[in-house]
Symmetry: C2
Subunit: 248 residues, 2 copies
DNA sequence: CGTTTGGTTGAAATGTGTCAAACTTTGTGG
DNA sequence: CCACAAAGTTTGACACATTTCAACCAAACG
């Protein structure tokens, strides 16, 4: 039941258990995965657009994001990743990476060879389904982000992003009450929301003076979760959290 | 070899064969799928956000799109679908739909029960992988759309969308040269690009007067494919087309 | 303690939205 | 086959949300 004897993969176990109940057998298969663990500094690329990786990685500690850059040199972050996530599982079935993946903070990632993952999937169909499901949830999040960036004004966009981070952190037990540590700069919020960093700053001040949030340093607190959700037009359905994770 | 004896599923076969080479066995399994075919008018919902469908569908004829609406009533289209696509394969592993799926034109869709699909996947691991891969490509397209809507100006946004449609239609043999039939209104392009219909109209006129496209009625012609790609900052990598499909 | 990084402010510029009306094409029933 | 309705496209004037630029401030860091 307790994965603490292998602290390295425990975020991954915790994440998978929030998706499906693992049998002892399955849990052991995860624990036995040959993982190449690597520590990375902040703002380092893990893999880059155009790469043809032979392995995927699990984010064990720290924060990361996928992003793409336009010809004009503007950057769009397309997703944030938190401990337990497998940000580039897609490369298991897509030869060429269409996006870059980089750290936001000092991080620890565990690399797993594709053959190993493939064999795990062949041997444990339920784990395969859980992985597939994971990638489907990623896709759902991308859809929501398109809506966010395409059809919400700046105020709602930022509120929505904050809501998503809060909900996901809570779902994996990385928050107490409605307070979380989010080491994301305003510049990065800008790249995630399709706004300028200056405007993000003004919006955050508005959210503060409206009494919705406290955001100082890395600490984000939702002072009024219900109103914040409303401001961000946030409905957590698209995160496909398990009922217990959602209630957390 | 020839799927023409069952014309109904042939777009699906063609699409799958553009992903993996099907064995006779596998092709037959697809042909044998119990498909409930249904004809739909334009602008009809196939499934809606919040539904818990027990089946997925293949788009056999016509055009469709996934979309979500904000609390303010604004609509964002998150993807276009063309014949052969399986727009809601996600519902196989996600209980609640987080997006709506509707037709753009009169269409014919084939519904397949989830249990049947699941059994197909269990029996034919390569088909399962092809399906998974399909959903990963969908995810890749959503990422690109987020970039498009978040970080490109109106001119590039529209050019990019036109490029994607052109490339995908060519990949499944629905174009000759650089001319395709695209029954999508400017209002729909607006909802796909996060712009107003008025502005879409002005941008399309600019693309026309710059000699990049002819767009009249449902006919889109790329007069200068290379310049159109450049205008749209379009790199087809994210579509993960097979080499032969890409050359088509 | 200086340097870097991230946050804040103000003024001016601009891309895109809104509104309202006219025009054009497509579809349909008489 | 015409007449009309409906749907889609085009136009102009104006409003405004957001960007850009440039400077300054605050906090973190070696």
């Amino acid at each position: 039941m307790d994965a603490s004897f292998n602290p390295v993969v425990s975020p991954l176990i915790r994440k998978l258990e929030s998706i499906i109940a693992l049998s002892d057998d399955e849990r052991q298969a995860i624990l036995d995965l040959p993982l190449q663990v690597m520590s990375l500094r902040a703002d380092q690329d893990i893999v880059r657009e155009g790469d043809r990786p032979s392995r995927s990685c699990a984010l064990l500690e720290g924060f990361a994001c996928t992003y793409k850059s336009t010809a004009e040199g503007k950057r769009q972050i397309t997703a944030f990743y938190i401990p337990g996530d497998i940000p580039d599982l897609q490369s298991l079935h897509l030869e060429v990476l269409d996006t870059s993946l980089g750290t936001l903070t000092p991080s620890k990632v565990g690399f797993i060879q594709h053959e190993v993952l493939q064999e795990l999937c062949d041997r444990h169909p339920r784990i395969a389904r859980a992985f597939w499901r994971e990638t489907l949830i990623d896709a759902s999040v991308f859809r929501e982000w398109t809506v966010n960036v395409g059809r919400r004004d700046a105020y709602a966009r930022i509120a929505h992003i904050l809501c998503e981070l809060m909900a996901r952190m809570r779902a994996v037990g990385l928050a107490r009450d409605h307070t979380v540590q989010i080491p994301i700069t305003q510049h990065e919020f800008a790249d995630a929301s399709g706004l300028s960093n200056v405007h993000v700053n003004r919006v955050i001040q508005a959210l503060r003076s409206d009494g919705l949030i406290v955001l100082k340093g890395e600490t984000l607190q939702a002072l009024d979760w219900e109103r914040l959700k409303e401001a961000g037009d946030f409905d957590p359905t698209y995160l496909h959290l398990s009922p217990k994770a959602e209630a957390a």
